[in-house]
Amino acid sequence: MTLRERLRQKISAAFYHHGLLCASYPVPIILFTSASILTCCYPLLRLPLPGTGPVEFTTAVRGYASPSHNPLGDPVERPDWYRGPPVAYIQQVLVKAAVSPWGSNLLPVDAFRPPLGQVFTLLEEIRNHVHSDSSGVQSLEHLCLQVTDLLPGLRRMQTVLPEHGCLLVSPGNYWQNQQELFDSDPDLLKTVQKHEPKGLHTSATLRDLLFGVPGKHTGVSHYSKKRVVTYTITIALSTYDAGFLGSLRARLKQLHPSANCSLGEEHMVHVHFKEEIGIAELIPLVTTYIILFAYIYFSTRKIDMVKSKWGLALAAVVTVLSSLLMSVGLCTLFGLTPTLNGGEIFPYLVVVIGLENVLVLTKSVVSTPVDLEVKLRIAQGLSNESWSIMKNMATELCIILIGYFTLVPAIQEFCLFAVVGLVSDFFLQMFFFTTVLSIDIRRMELADLNRRLPAEAGLPPPKPGPLRPREAPPPPRPSPHTITLQTPAFRNLRLPKRLRVVYFLARTRLAQRIIMVGTVIWIGILVYTDPAGLRTYLAAQVSEQSHLGDPGGGGGQPPHLGGMAPVFPGGDPAKALSVLPAREATPLPENQSQRHLAPGRVQEQPRGPPAATQVPWGAEDEEGWRRLSFRHWPSLFSYYNITLAKRYISILPVIPVTLHLGPQEAPETPRHPQDARLPPDPIPKFSSPDLQAADLTLYKVAALGLAAGVLLVLLLFCLYRVLCPRNYGQNGVSHGRRRRGDLPCDDYGYSPPVSEISPLLLRGHSMDIECLASDGMLLASCCLAGQIRVWDAQTGDCLTYIVHISISLGCEGRDPCVGGDSASEDEGGGFPFRRHAPPLRPPLFTDQPDLTPLIDTNFDSRLPPSSVHAAPPRGAAFDYGGLVERAYTEHEPPSPAAYPSPSYSSSPPTAGFANCRRSPVEAPDRGFACGPPPAAEWEGSVWAMELRGNLIAAGRSSGKLQLWDAVEGSLRCSNEEGASGITALAFLNNRIVAARLDGSLDFFTVELNKPPGLLQYRGAPGRGSMPPSPCYSSDDLISCQLTRSVLCAHQKPITVLRAAAGRVVTGSQDHTVRVYRLDDSCCLFTLQGHSGAITAIYIDETMVLASGGQDGAICLWDVLTGSRVSHVYGHRGDVTSLVCTNTCVISSGLDDLICIWDRSTGIKLYSIQQEVGCGDSLGVISDSLLVTGGQGCVSFWDLNFGDLLQTVYLGQTSDGQGVRQLLVLDNAAIVCDFGSELSLVYVPSVLEKLD
């Protein structure tokens, strides 16, 4: 034993024990896991919330020095981004200017034209300020942040934003920092407004950038009540020079003192910006997430064969996600702060960790033997996959470790997270997911147990503890012939709500409509806000109506604004040159600028205190930039292709400047001639474009919000309607009430008359009915005793009956019962004829009525009653022979060796049942094994029966094909060419196809010895889907000739035979389905696709072919091409019957589940839990009505929604009898094989309701 094997064994054993542990104590383990997840996630609370908002950090101005790149010591109170110099130092000069006192001769324009005009003076002052100290002469040119070109996409901003020089912005930029342009501007507001972007904008606009305060605080409008104009001059500095800034501050304060200003100057604020995510960055991110979801979808789709697929898929996703969270939490706990963008690496982490292990575990556990205990199943499943899980995990860890040694920080961090995530994922898989899986498996077994409770009553009691089955109360049995509304507890129908939601969405095309509405709204907004759109038109209308519309229109624009006038400092070298010499020529630092200022128009210096009360300074002015959008600075810098992402800027304390302009000075400022034409009084329509814009924005947002709210309400309403199951009931009620007047028996759902659906009992058979056949008008049944009775399907009258015994007696004149009984199985060659002799037996067996009670009592005494129900009918049939023999042994015990009895007669009954269920050879079809009737042995028992016209075709175990007249009960014809027993018959037109036990297929032709012109045709009753069948009169001589025999149609016995639409389809135990043409018995296709014996086939006139096999698979085939169009696994165990409608496929299986599948997509719509032993009794009345049999009742289901419409109880006395066969006649009567009785149920009301 190598080390590897030993290791493998150890791992396997460990996993086995672990699985046992998990399955034994699910609740404590889940609690423990949840607790550990929460504990590990706790450090996540300390992490900052994700977002792109800026982060601030405040330091004192005094003693400030640019932080170094590597922080030494003193890590406290310093955010980790506070390293190295900032991108820029922002120095704002906050100007508040007012014209006071306000004179009556002043125009509204005067409220802001003179104050704005002052900006040029101030700018000049700031630009020319020079500070010299011991280190040298400092000027703004040296200190400021030099910017280069604007981004290429911003050509239209070239006129207003500085290029190739200092980044210094102020309202003066609107006029290229030139006083002359300002003075000649006829409409200042229009100039300002011109640069505003169209549409909804939340980020910083140009106006905000230049004014440096939010738009509504500037006071630049005709309506400013306070008549105080506020703006800033914003200077971006690349280096911090305390001396220069101090002297600038002092100088400005000295020039324009602000008396009541108490703004703090001590603190500078550093603002750190996160990485911004643009649309372009979002696209790859969204792509990765889409791929991630596709991965999760495709992975979880593979979870199968569990109780709740969705629950397990959710558990798998939870496992992965919480392991990621745990990994982040643990890493944070140990001091490793995540620096990567979590949203970006998250999909890759999920992909690396993967869902594979979870799926492998599920698959492994599910594939363990079902009959084991849950604990053992979990343990076995775990230990089976232990080696591969450990191997995969080791491989992944190795790969990640290799990645760790790339020594790239980002990859290292990723790998670290991945390692911790992998380990925690393993932990969670082992504890959390395994436990959830065990709970799920247990739930499934409980459901099974509930269903099979009667059947397993004889087995040892189930495990105590969590395995205790909940006893379902027996359904309340009402008085006979009544209709219950309540669904019995047994019938737990899983309502496919989520399917309904999906279907509702698909049906109403809700998503498309919402998208369409959204598109319409969006287009509307676009049309409205488009530059050439509605809004301009409206604005033009408005301005035309107001008499002061700009007469010149667009032509009134000052021509210089359109041009490429050089921006003040940098763009014009001549100007720069003219400034520079002046500065060099004047070494006087303090007064140098004053000399330049001296020739200025306004001399503010002597003024100051008198009007100071009019300009308020408040605490909010101290950090006025806070009122700006947080994108203000990033967008300003982004225009120059400087990113602030992951970097920071330092904002220096503002320099307050107060300007007071006397009323006499205000007019001195040169007014533009057009200013006078402005109205003296504010006119609302014209005046405030900014207010208007703000209002419009508000309206738009409100409208959008309203629309969204309405949509949401509608959506919720729709969802409610979809999810509320009462909806359907209500529909039915209204429907019923509407039609109540003309159809008195329509209102089936409420207060139904007791006699509305009364099953008609057809009595007469003395034993259980085995074969049923009908052609719509007549109904033939054959019981275990070999008696064939023919009934009128309309009235329920017994027309005739054929007793084989009498015939055989008449023919042979032998003691019928004894010989036929013991030698009923044809393979026994030499019969012990000596058993005929004892005189005791004739009273026992000569006539049927005497035999029945004996058999019955024997049956009941031998078997637990529940087993009788659980057993399929053929099982009872097989044991019948054995039981009769027991009857013999009771009366006269002979030597057991004298009986050459068939193998199954000696086996105990339960084993016989198991044998029947398991081995298809002995029980290929339900028609296969009628019990050995006490008829003559040469007759054999009836294994298959068909009824067409008035001919009954009966196939016998001896290989005989007999044709009986259904009305007269006379044998018309018999064919004895085949030796092997006929297992299935198909009678179509004048052809009979017989499948035999040895796998051969015989085609017979029924011929009348009469000219065919005399053949009468009887009209097809009911729906008319049947072809008219010839009616053979009793005078005709009928012969049945073997036209062709396909000797080796299948390698193994043929189990199913169906014929329709000119095709004969056979299914066999050799896993294949063959399609023959009825006319020339030519084999068209051999359809392979099943991995088990074929147990059910459906074909109808529309050539829909479906087949089900022992593997639980259902295949849909194209009969024309022989290709398989659909393949689903539906049942655990055999598929026992199949029916197709136009839209769906209905299948039932040995697991007593009826599944309804969508025929086109192969998706399971829903399933109906049947009662034990009634699984294969189902029929479809119309396209939307399904009938299933239950314990002594039949139920009607709405096929479209899976609602139980009605349950009809068939009788009072026969509680334990299950409906084992169900035949739907054309006139919508349902014939149920119900013990030894037949029930004829007419459902006129249901049909009328549904049609």
Binding site: Y348, V351, P409, A410
Partner: protein, 237 residues
């Protein structure tokens, strides 16, 4: 692929004629799917669209590498690359995706390793991740970056392919693509910001290799459907 599935499912109820001819003509869909050429065209179209999509997204990643803040007219930058890049990538991926199953069948060794869509999705995700890493992660030097990406690409092959034919085909195609790119750059059609391997970036072959493996994976998975259809066709006698 989902289109194929739905189409496959949708066409089941229709197409049942009732004429009992000896060998009835197959329905339009069945004949379309079983027809090799049509199938090839469908697969090629799917692969082409996948290639175009990936090219657009990954190109965007590369474009972003130096630009973090975008001007307001950001939508136009999605198509910032030349118009011919996505069609070229699409065509190449279609060719590769068709070539892989073809070679598999020629060699007679069908690819059996992890043949399911979830694995394919995982592969695509890892491929995007490799691109992401090449664009976003700051490496100390180019050699390290290239080596890391090479290791990742080989890891991709090991995780999702593990066939010798896949590896060799990937290497050959990656070399050819690198050569083509060299020629393109040499002729000045476009250029890289900081070439370190003649005219291109040295990690380009690794990206090409990973892309070939990914597209081959998708192509094989798509071919599986055709294989199934063909199998059923042979089964029908």
């Amino acid at each position: 692929m989902s289109r194929t599935l739905t189409a496959m499912a949708d066409s089941t109820p229709g197409g049942y004629g009732s004429e009992p001819g000896p060998r009835p003509a197959p329905g339009p869909y069945i004949s379309a799917v079983t027809n090799r050429t049509t199938n090839l065209v469908i697969r090629g179209a799917m692969l082409f669209s996948v290639g175009v999509f990936l090219a657009l997204v990954l190109n965007l990643l590369q474009v972003q590498r130096n630009v973090t803040l975008f001007p307001p007219d950001v939508i136009s930058s999605i198509f910032s690359s030349a118009w011919w890049v996505p069609p070229c990538c699409g065509t190449a991926s279609a060719l590769i995706g068709l070539l892989y199953p073809c070679i598999d069948s020629r060699l007679g060794e069908p690819h059996r390793f992890k043949r399911e869509w979830s694995s394919v999705m995982r592969c695509v995700a890892v491929f995007v991740g490799i691109n992401h890493a090449s664009a976003k992660v700051d490496f100390a030097n180019n050699v390290q970056l290239s080596l890391t990406l090479a290791a990742l690409s080989v890891g991709l092959w090991w995780s999702f392919d593990r066939s010798r034919s896949g590896f060799s085909l990937g290497v050959v195609i990656a070399l050819l693509a690198t050569l083509a790119t060299q020629l393109l750059v040499y002729n000045g059609v476009f250029q890289y910001t900081s070439p370190d391997f003649l005219y291109i970036r040295s990690w380009l072959p690794c990206i090409f290799f990973a892309g070939v493996i990914t597209m081959g994976n998708i192509g094989r998975q798509l071919a599986l459907y055709e294989h199934k259809v063909a199998l059923e066709k042979t089964h029908q006698d």
